[in-house]
């Protein structure tokens, strides 16, 4: 039988990863369905597994002067229920929109990122939070911005021997986050499109805006021209700003869930709704 490793220390986990290249597994909410999908058409898949669920120190949220460290294995339920500042309101809203409660109880923030689905609900939020990925190997650690970590459709910069150990979110004092998701039913639904944003005010004006859209390109994207256009505005002025031209970084496709044209139009509406939410 192919090996299944379940180490009890990070040191052991990294050694196994380096030696075997085993596939890291945490909540299993992506890997088990993928096995099922392949088996259904006679393609049994039993990769060597590096189960990270017994490694201490990979879950939970810590706050420091620099910001927050969200352990790789932190589940969506933990995030939704954590006492986090309004900066995280978007991420926390996404945490309640991913799968059903069963998946929220198991699915992890790093798993959502490493799976790198265009429709991963966590990803636009991490982009808007300017989050960095903390990566470890047996010989050291490095950090990459989430935008650099995600290299394409279901592709990441995760190197051989590496595992994700945490997400790092820098402070952004007084900032608030929001998230808007569009799907064809209420629960258990893959997003047609989604938008996430973080807004920081100075006085009654927008001082900083970070806006990202998901499920409208192979990788969720920030929208720099929209962000710039929001600077200096009063919040009540924001909903009128998003225009189709701001979507230039996106490349929506048509699939079973929606047409490309609808995605593009819906993205603009979602952005307007998202920004209107900040004004409330």
């Amino acid at each position: 039988m192919t090996a299944y490793h379940r180490p009890r220390t990070l040191h052991d986990a990294l050694a196994i990863r380096a030696a075997t290249g085993a596939l890291p597994l945490a909540g299993g909410t992506d890997i088990h369905p993928l096995r099922t999908a392949r088996a259904a058409w006679g393609d049994p898949w039993r990769p060597e597994i590096l189960d990270l669920s017994a490694v201490p120190g990979l879950d939970g949220i810590e706050e420091s002067a620099e910001g927050w460290r969200i352990g790789a294995r932190t589940t969506w339920t933990t995030i939704a229920e954590a006492p986090l500042p309004p900066l995280f309101d978007g991420l926390r809203a996404a945490a309640r929109e991913i799968g059903g409660r069963q998946v929220q109880n198991r699915g992890t923030i790093a798993g959502n990122l490493v799976t790198a689905s265009p429709a991963g609900d966590g990803i636009p939020n991490l982009l808007a939070l300017d989050a960095e990925v903390e990566l470890a190997t047996a010989t050291g650690t490095r950090r990459l911005p989430v935008g650099a970590f995600l290299t394409g459709y279901r592709a990441t910069a995760l190197a051989a021997g590496e595992i994700v150990t945490a997400l790092r979110v820098p402070r952004c004092d007084g900032a608030r986050g929001r998230f808007a998701k569009l799907g064809a039913r209420r629960y258990l639904v893959i997003s047609i499109a989604m938008a996430a944003g973080v807004i920081r005010m100075e006085g009654d004006r927008i001082a900083e805006a970070r806006i990202a859209v998901g499920a409208c390109s192979p990788v969720a994207r920030r929208l720099p021209t929209l962000e710039e256009a929001l600077i200096g505005l009063h919040p009540s002025e924001m909903p009128r700003v998003p225009q189709p031209a701001h979507l230039a970084p996106l490349a929506p496709i048509g699939d079973v869930r929606a047409t490309a044209a609808y995605r593009a139009d819906a993205a603009v509406v979602l952005l307007r709704d998202l920004l209107a939410g900040f004004a409330r």
Binding site: M1, Y4, R6, L25, G27, G28, T29, H32, P33, R35, T36, A37, A39, A40, W41, G42, D43, P44, R46, I49, D51, S53, T77, R96, G99, G100, R101, Q102, V103, N105, R106, L182, A184, R185, R186, Y187, L188, V189, I190, I192, V256, R257, A258, T259, A261, Y262, R263, D265, A266, V269, L270
Partner: protein
């Protein structure tokens, strides 16, 4: 070995550490209360608690459960006990396959939140799919359990069962998690069977050396077409067995079985299909009706040179003349998609070979006697050699009327002479089983100046996929029903069922009528608009009723309660319109809309014999047994038929035990389809029980009004003046009575004239929707249903049928679209969740059917038919957009709304003063 703590008990189990916990619970520990519906976290059937939190056991590696506290439906827990009681009392378990998952999700909620509101319950249950109930009774049950307010069991005296909202008599096992479905039990040592299926929609293939592959792969056998001992063919129609058990060098759809792998579970699962000696020669595939009808399209079956399986036809009056002279005319083209049944239990079962050609097959099914015929033909043995024992059926909706695992199991068990079991994977189930026919409809309708319908015409093509299945039934049922439950003197309906290289389409709740109703009801709205009439008013004016003549030339002599259904809805329709008008006066983006639709549905086969036979026995030891061959697929026939039999006999329902649907033990009660079990089998049960009563009364020389009481083997017969006691033990033989009922019909002539059905169900529904016109999303907020059921034998179960029908109608309207090769799982194919359901109110109309037991007739299918057209009518009211294609996915509506602008031209009902 992996050590697991399940419900407080420590177990050691040998399992692949990566094996899903659900699999280890079921196959490793025999804890089959936890169900597997998808193995992908999409359905929640396998929900258990891990460290107190609900999780999908199919997403947990067994190794991850080591050391954790796992709670399953088998647990003994006071709160869980309360939930079980509440589920039973509310009718929250229908087929019961989602019940363990629902119970565990509810337990998780109530431990976190002892007093949840409805929204919290929906959030907690949002990850568990149910296809039967529409979630309403489940949500109510959880709220009841939280409040500790659970309805007490209803006392059921003799003669009081019919009309009582009794909990289902087979419900205890469903809420305990002990019910046995197709995958839950199998003989020790059974071989596992896995079908290798075509990844191509249309291909020729040749097989290499299967014996060498078998040896190389460590399998017990590899089966192919050459191994079928009898005829390698099955199919619903008696004269059209066009589907092979194993394809013989040629496949007509993606998902068709080519080989059967037999061996240990691990061995068959480890085989990579690509390593099998199959040489594929893919052919261009005919997807959709247009491709199959195109000039020069390849012929898919020799018996259908033009790829047309069958044509249906109905003609009465002079349609052309009526259109020419009409005041208002409406016309449209409509399209519907493949719809998947999405029963949460994938097909499963086992077969045990016997001596002398005998074969026993236990599997989930809606049609045990038809399964027996199919299996016997495939085995080349007489029907009597095959015994079908239906397992509990985790949802059917028409999809388990066709055989699935049965012929595969039969062949495998015969070839190996060993017990064999098989469980379909979710994707295998979706790719290989039948679907609702996609329809392409062109319909026209006309009315006079008073809004009276004068003509209707429909041309409909139904994509029947690669094999006939129930295609002829759809093609024949639609022409009878297509003009809707209205008086229409001139009708011309023509249908075709067309072979394609798509997944076979078969029976699905309504047999084509839901598709046709989408077209018809849109045209009715068109006529209302053209004439400036209210949409309720035009329907009421034309509603067919007692004494009216159908387009088949049938006079409705009784039980035609559509006018009463519409009258029941009128106050709520008016209130709904007022609410819409008030809201929309100030809101531009989020628009409300009200919609309405009607339906009728003939109970039983279309102008064909479809008898049921029931036997009831009062044994000398005092046991009273109904031998009931009707399979309960969750809709409740076991309970309803028992209520009927008990009251017809005059003993309390508690005294009645049943033997259900075993072809060796029960007479043929036909198939569970076409809303026929309450009406046809119920009537047979009533007649049998009455005959038994007559024998008892004769023995006691008692009058018709005598009261019976059974105490052990002492049967007391109390007449007005005398009381007699029969010592059953002293009788020479058990008292037995049997009755057969076949609803009276008259064959249809070439113009579709005759008496196709003995009775019809009628219903109307109104829907309130909220449309976000910017995103073009639709939320159904309210549905009010009125349905003529003849007699409500069990109002609790009827409510469950109506809720569930509405859920499926909502899915048909808004989200469900099976695309072969693309939406073969339950995350790409969407069915409604607990959060997608509207508030539902029900008005039951009881216009008794003289042929029916205590006046009852069918309920199951009528509930679904009006929902989708009522929602479409409401979307149109809200937006001005007449959608002609379902599902109304957001992008489709958005394209029609046109960039989120406010709606043009609302229907007249929106006008001030309405």
């Amino acid at each position: 070995m992996i050590a697991l703590t399940i419900n407080g008990t420590r177990h050691e189990v040998a399992a692949d550490p990566l094996a899903p916990l659900s699999d280890t619970l079921r196959e490793g520990l025999g804890l089959t209360g936890t169900k597997e519906g998808c193995n992908a976290g999409d359905c929640g059937a396998c929900t258990v608690l891990m460290e107190g939190a609900q999780v999908c056991a199919c997403l947990i590696s067994t190794a991850q459960a080591e050391g954790a506290e796992i709670t399953t439906v088998e647990a003994q827990d006071p709160l869980l006990g309360r939930l079980r009681q509440a589920f039973l009392a509310r009718g929250a378990a229908q087929c019961g396959i989602c019940t363990p998952g629902m119970l565990m999700a509810s337990l998780d909620l109530l431990r976190r939140n002892a007093a949840p509101d409805r929204a919290a319950v929906e959030d907690a249950l949002g990850g568990v799919l149910c296809r039967c109930t529409g979630y309403q009774q489940i949500i109510e049950a959880v709220l009841d359990a939280a409040r500790g307010d659970i309805a007490a069991p209803i006392a059921t005296e003799a003669g009081a069962a019919v009309g009582a909202p009794l909990p289902r008599v087979d419900g205890a096992a469903k809420v305990a998690g002990t019910e046995r479905y197709g995958a839950d039990a199998a003989p020790d040592g059974a071989l596992w069977l896995r079908a290798v299926r075509s990844p191509h929609a249309h291909a020729r293939f040749t097989l290499g050396d299967l014996d060498a592959a078998r040896d190389r792969l460590g399998l017990a056998a590899i089966l192919s077409a050459r191994d079928v001992p009898g005829r390698n063919a099955f199919g619903i129609m008696p004269d059209l067995k066009d589907q092979p058990v194993f394809a013989d060098g040629y496949v007509r759809y993606r998902g068709e079985a080519v080989l059967g792998l037999l061996g240990t579970r691990d061995a068959v699962a480890a085989v990579r299909d690509a390593e099998l000696p199959i040489a594929w020669d893919p052919q261009p595939a005919l997807h959709g009706v247009a491709a199959a009808l195109a000039e020069g399209a390849p012929r898919l079956h020799d018996h259908a040179p033009d790829n047309v399986l069958v044509r249906g036809h109905l003609r009465t009056g002079d349609v052309d003349a009526a259109f020419a002279t009409a005041t208002a005319r409406a016309e449209g083209n409509f399209r519907t998609a493949f719809v998947e049944h999405a029963y949460i239990e994938p097909e499963a079962g086992f077969a045990i070979p016997g001596a002398g050609g005998a074969m026993t097959i236990a599997a989930c099914t809606q049609a045990p006697v038809m399964d027996r015929e199919e299996a016997a033909r495939v085995l080349g043995v007489p029907d009597e050699a095959v015994r079908i024992i239906p397992t509990a059926c985790g949802g059917g909706f028409g999809g388990k009327l066709d055989v699935s695992v049965q012929p595969l199991l039969a062949v495998a068990a015969r070839v190996t002479n060993r017990p064999v079991r098989m469980t379909y994977a979710r994707t295998e189930s979706m790719a290989s089983s039948t679907k609702r026919h996609p329809a392409t409809l062109h319909a026209r309708m006309a009315a006079d100046a008073q809004g009276r319908f004068t003509a209707f015409a429909l041309e409909g093509d139904f994509n029947t996929g690669a094999y006939a299945s129930w295609g002829p039934t759809v093609a024949n049922r639609v022409p009878v029903h297509a003009s809707g439950p209205y008086r229409v003197p001139n009708v011309w309906n023509r249908t075709r069922a067309v072979y394609t290289n798509d997944t076979p389409a078969g029976a699905f709740r309504g047999f084509g009528v839901p598709q046709a109703a989408i077209a018809t009801e849109a045209l009715v709205d068109d006529l209302a608009e053209a004439l400036g009439m209210d949409r309720w008013e035009i329907r009421r004016r034309n509603a067919i009723g007692k004494g009216d003549i159908t387009p088949s030339g049938q006079v409705l002599h009784a039980s035609a309660g559509l006018p009463e259904c519409l009258d029941a809805l009128k106050p709520e329709w008016d209130a709904m319109l007022a609410r819409v008008a008030a809201h929309n006066a100030t809101q531009r983006r989020h628009r409300l809309g009200a919609g309405i639709a009607c339906m009728w549905y003939g109970c039983g086969n279309t102008a064909l014999s479809n008898p049921s036979t029931m036997r009831i026995t009062l044994a000398r030891d005092g046991t009273l047994t109904l031998f009931n061959g009707a399979v309960d697929i969750g809709q409740g026939s076991t309970t309803v038929i028992a209520q009927i039999a008990a009251d017809a006999l005059g003993l309390p329902i508690d005294a009645l035990r049943q033997v259900i649907g075993d072809t060796a033990l029960t007479p043929d009660a036909g198939k569970t389809s076409a809303s026929r079990q309450t009406f046809v089998s119920g009537r047979a049960a009533q007649d049998a029980a009455r005959a038994l009563r007559a024998r008892i009364l004769a023995l006691a020389n008692a009058g018709e009004a005598a009261r019976l009481a059974l105490d052990g083997a002492r049967l007391t017969i109390a007449d007005t003046h005398t009381t007699r006691v029969i010592d059953l033990a002293a009788l020479d033989a058990d008292l037995t009575a049997e009755a057969r009922y076949d609803p009276p019909t008259v064959a249809l002539d070439a113009d579709g004239q005759g008496i196709p059905y003995a009775t019809y169900g009628f219903a109307a529904q109104i829907a309130l929707v909220r449309v976000d016109t910017a995103l073009a999303t639709v939320k159904v907020e309210e549905i009010v249903a009125a349905q003529d059921v003849g007699r409500a034998v069990n109002p609790l179960l009827i409510a469950g049928q109506i809720h569930g029908g509405i859920a499926q109608g909502l899915g048909l309207a808004l989200m469900e679209e099976f695309i072969p090769g693309r939406t073969e799982n339950l995350h790409d194919y969407l069915i409604p969740t607990a959060g997608d359901m509207p508030r539902i109110r029900i008005h039951l109309v009881e216009d008794p059917e003289p042929e029916g037991p205590f006046g009852a007739k069918g309920v199951g299918e009528p509930a679904l038919v009006p929902t989708a057209p009522a929602i479409l009518s409401a979307i149109r009211h809200a937006t001005g957009v007449r959608m002609t294609e379902v599902p109304v996915l957001p992008h489709r509506l958005h394209e029609r709304i046109g960039g989120g602008e406010p709606p043009p031209n609302p229907l007249p009902s929106l006008a001030p003063g309405d």
